[in-house]
């Protein structure tokens, strides 16, 4: 594998075509292949089940053409025994195979595809390069239908009673993207049962899709698909809201297939002796959502329950957090840090540049005339050594470069090869091995930018390669060594908020050995959880909360400050200094990281007689009443729940996520205590995602009656003396009905706290709903854009306990990455400000996305911009914004960049 340079000669010669599973079976690939162009590692692999040589002992073309002799047919699988302290299972999911459902004729009708096939059809690297065509005739479709809940929420035909959680959103996304891909207007229709767009920013995406993009949403199930044999169009038969049977013709149908655990994975779980639940997902409890039934084995992602990317990422970090806590004493015992020789000072030397020109096998050399490029380089000013390599990136080449740097006294190196994105770090390490500063290096990309894109014009490719090398050398003459200062890290964290999330983060860090300051503005720990009865799985919140509080207050490395809030904070990652103010006055804390876990609160409704009639309760009030043994609950003959009170409305467009499950759990409790009582849930969409769906089913089985309403016709509540009258239009009967309730429970929204002061202090941003913004919705769900500050719990978005805990443990894990370092090395490519040119206008501060530059008083009466190098990513936004040229980015100063431009124009060919 080390020898493979991914030139692709082998696959070009391989005679065996097989189905391309990466493209969901929509295309073919060779028996020797890489899955996709960006694959890591970018190494060709042989599909042993299809390879002609491995099956019959004949062929072997690939080995004959391989320029590096990387192919070894004798390679055999070997069993390796590893001694590890912990295991994390992240094996993912399989998509449901719709062949099992004859209604949809997936294997018979070519234009019925799965949602994963649709992803590949839409992808620029897919079988049609992102050109949206239907499989049967490669014609552009004009009408596409998505059918939801294929292999989910279905126990009649596929034994998957759970909701797969992600399909509603991906279907909306595919419909929107498909419309964007289509040159002609494209009609898209999504056939669904409940739209479950419960995540952060999901509901607004759904609304935009419907209102702005014109995606149609039809609440019905398609019961038959008939293919027109001549056109291969598909006729969908369904019953609409008014009970009318409708036939509608589409060009294509996408089946929104759910997630499941494969048989092989279930077998692996049995071998590992971990418990699975009835749906073959790893069994966990809400207070330890990533712990399997076996100590030391953790689980994350869709193998725990179907879930989307951000929650998979959160659980992944949470699993790391708890594994790190288990193994904390052994931290650093098996890892090694590489050491380098002392750097040679080169500032006083004339430039002595070495140029290494790579052939990349035939990848560059087959197109670009490499000897000619090398010959040209020899004549460039400052160049003292030039060499051609078959592969400049190979291990022996690194040794050679190091040798030559030392022998020839080179003080700068240019490699003309592939892209710095993949190879710069490797060559920089070689320079450091040779005693040179890593910034004395430059790459010219003569593969991607020359031989690849101009493969049919060899002369032009060669000429461009020469230009690029000339430009690189000209710039290299001007580059200098850059310092990379290190800053010591304070191995402690400040956790703001003492609810479930804050306490979980505090424990996660303290169990790993770090000092934690946990501050809570209320007089006691616990937050919203103090009012909650049970999790959806039935864990008793009160008991578990008490255990957690006891562990936090008894922990030798957690200092709890209740009745305390943050007053001021300064500093940056690794070195914060925060003033907290509590009953005993102000206190200054020094810490290396911050976790913001300030939570959210229940909305105070303004409608449905709330606050005016004592029989109208919110969720938290209901839970408190149950806990207090309120006699009104047992005597209530009729209980009515109203969903989405304050959520999914114009003022608060997001879904509060937890309310459907909470209402249903409470409704079941009423039915269990008094089966003869009448319980109604008036809802808009039931969003019991994942295995919470079973609660919905149980509630219906127990006789809870669900009535749907729309925003245009909200239920009306009036006081009738003994009872509350609730008038609502029943969606089945099509007429208004009046319910007489003894208790009315409002599923009140979850609203953010006033985060303004904290946001100002730590320079954090909030979304339009006033919840804190994470750094990246998918890949960095627990950190802020400002380094060293992390986010957990409902301050991020409404969520149930198990998700708050996963996110909080994840925040602890991410913070531990910083706290486990003795010091932070600052990158050399950072911004710097020439003070005498700065007029303190603050443009740079406004432009900086990382809060790394700010105008401050530098000496008495003199204000200027100052760069916090530890936070700077070297993006150059400040340099662009600066009107005087005072701010610039090291290594990319005007002079070294403009020299390249001048050289390009002066090339003279």
């Amino acid at each position: 594998m080390d020898k493979c340079i991914a030139c692709g000669e082998c696959a070009a010669k391989c005679p065996k075509k097989v189905t391309d599973t990466f493209n969901a079976g929509l295309a073919t690939r060779k028996a020797i292949y890489v899955e996709y162009p960006q694959a890591v590692p970018l190494k060709y692999a042989i599909d042993a089940g299809s390879c002609i040589y491995l099956k019959n002992g004949k062929c072997g073309f690939c080995a004959k053409v391989c320029p590096t002799k990387a192919i070894n047919f004798e390679d055999k699988p070997v069993a390796v025994t590893l001694q590890v302290g912990s295991v994390v299972l992240a094996p993912g999911f399989s998509t449901f195979d719709p062949q099992k459902l004859d209604t949809y004729q997936y294997s018979q009708y070519k234009n019925v595809i799965t949602s994963l096939e649709m992803e590949r059809l839409l992808s620029a690297t897919g079988p049609f390069n992102g050109h949206l065509v239907r499989p049967s005739d490669h014609r552009e479709p004009k009408k596409i239908a998505w059918l939801q809940c294929i292999g989910s929420r279905d126990i009649n035909r596929c034994d998957h009673g759970y909701c797969s959680s992600v399909c509603c959103m991906y279907a909306v996304k595919e419909a929107v993207i498909a419309k964007e891909h289509s040159a002609e207007p494209l009609d898209t229709a999504i056939f669904y049962m409940d739209m479950r767009t419960y995540g952060k920013e999901f509901e607004s995406y759904y609304k935009r899709a419907e209102e702005e993009k014109g995606v149609r949403f039809l609440r019905t199930r398609v019961h038959t698909i008939i293919e027109d044999r001549n056109t291969q169009d598909l006729v969908l038969r369904f019953v609409d809201d008014n009970g009318k049977l409708i036939d509608e013709r589409f060009d294509m149908v996408v089946l929104s297939v759910g997630m499941e655990t494969s048989k092989e994975l279930a077998a692996l779980a049995r071998r590992l002796e971990i418990e699975l639940n009835a749906d073959n997902f790893a069994a966990t409890d809400c207070f330890s959502p990533v712990k399997t039934s076996r100590d030391g084995i953790y689980v994350c992602g869709a193998f725990q329950e179907p879930k989307d990317i951000p929650y998979s990422v959160m659980e992944a970090s949470a699993a790391a957090c708890w594994a790190e806590a288990d193994l904390a004493p052994a931290r650093g015992t098996l890892t090694r840090t590489k050491t380098f020789p002392a750097e040679r000072p080169v500032a006083d030397e004339e430039a002595r540049i070495g140029v290494f020109v790579c052939n990349c096998g035939t990848n560059i050399g087959g197109i670009v005339n490499v000897p000619e490029v090398a010959e040209m380089a020899k004549g460039l000013p400052g160049v003292t050594y030039v060499e051609e390599n078959l592969f400049t990136c190979s291990q022996d080449s690194q040794e050679k470069i190091k040798d030559i740097v030392e022998k020839k006294g080179l003080n700068r190196v240019v490699v003309a090869a592939c892209t710095p994105r993949t190879h710069e770090a490797l060559f920089q390490e070689t320079l450091r091995d040779a005693g040179l500063n890593k910034y004395l290096f430059e790459m010219a990309n003569i593969r991607n930018q020359c031989s690849w894109v101009h493969s049919k014009e060899k002369d032009a490719a060669t000429s461009k390669a020469k230009d690029l090398v000339r430009m690189a050398v000209a710039r290299t003459r001007l580059i200098t060594s850059l310092g990379q200062p290190t800053i010591a890290v304070e191995p402690s964290a400040l956790v703001i908020g003492g609810g479930i999330a804050g306490m979980t983060s505090a424990l996660g860090l303290a169990d790993q050995g770090y000092q934690v300051y946990l501050i809570e503005k209320e007089g006691q720990l616990g937050g919203n959880a103090r009012s909650l009865l049970t999790t959806w799985k039935g864990d008793k919140v009160g008991e578990r909360l008490a255990e957690m509080i006891a562990r936090v207050t008894g922990h030798q490395r957690i200092a709890v400050h209740t009745g305390t809030s943050v007053k001021a904070s300064s500093g940056f990652i690794g070195n914060f200094e925060t003033v907290v103010s509590g009953v005993s006055g102000d206190k200054v804390l020094r810490h290396g990281a911050v976790v913001v876990a300030t939570g959210a609160e229940e909305y105070k409704p303004t409608e449905y007689l709330y606050g005016r009639d004592p029989r109208v309760l919110t969720h938290l009030q209901l839970d408190q009443a149950v806990a207090a043994g309120d006699p009104r609950l047992a005597s209530a003959d009729t209980v009515v729940f109203v969903q989405c009170v304050g959520s999914r409305e114009e003022e608060r467009p997001y879904c509060s996520k937890v309310c459907c499950t909470h209402s249903i759990k409470a409704a079941i409790r009423f039915k269990e205590n008094r089966p003869d009582s009448q319980v109604f849930i008036i809802y808009r969409d039931i969003r019991t995602y994942g295995q919470r769906e079973y609660l919905y089913k149980e509630a219906r089985e127990k006789g809870v009656i669900f009535i749907r309403y729309g925003l245009d016709e909200k239920p009306e509540v009036s006081d009738k003396g003994d009872t509350l009258a609730v008038v609502v239009r029943d969606h089945v009967l099509g007429r208004k009905i009046e319910l007489h309730a003894n208790l009315l429970v409002l599923a009140a929204a979850i609203v953010p706290r006033d985060n303004e002061a904290l946001a100002q202090m730590f320079k954090l941003s909030c979304n339009s709903d006033k919840f804190f913004n994470e750094a990246h919705a998918k890949l960095r769900p627990v950190e802020f854009a400002t380094a060293g500050i992390f986010l957990a719990g409902m301050a991020h978005y409404p969520k149930p306990i198990e998700e708050s805990i996963a996110q909080a443990a994840a925040a602890a894990s991410r913070a531990a990455v910083t706290l486990s370092q003795e010091s932070i090395t600052v990158e050399g490519v950072v911004s710097h400000v020439q003070q005498f040119m700065c007029r303190a206008c603050g443009e740079c501060e406004r432009a900086c996305p990382f809060n790394a530059i700010a105008v401050q008083e530098v000496e008495d009466g003199l204000r200027a911009a100052v760069v916090k190098e530890a936070l700077c990513k070297g993006c150059g936004m400040c340099a662009v914004a600066c009107p005087t040229g005072a701010a610039s980015v090291r290594h990319f100063g005007d002079r070294s960049v403009l020299t390249m431009v001048e050289t390009a124009f002066a090339a003279g060919n």
Binding site: K43, D295, G296, A330, G332
Partner: protein, 63 residues
Amino acid sequence: MKSDNSRKVQGSVMVVGSGIAGMQTALDLADSGFYVYLVEKAPSIGGVMAQLDKTFPTNDCAM
């Protein structure tokens, strides 16, 4: 596998699966001082996310 005091705690972790979750676990562990064995049955890492075209709500390229 109850913790056995007579045996030394290993500073290494095996992560099974290298999709978005497995990679994140591996990065967190390795970045904070633990040796990681990342086990994957496919020839390259990345899992299902690599197959996706774009991701909502930002419509970012999944790759």
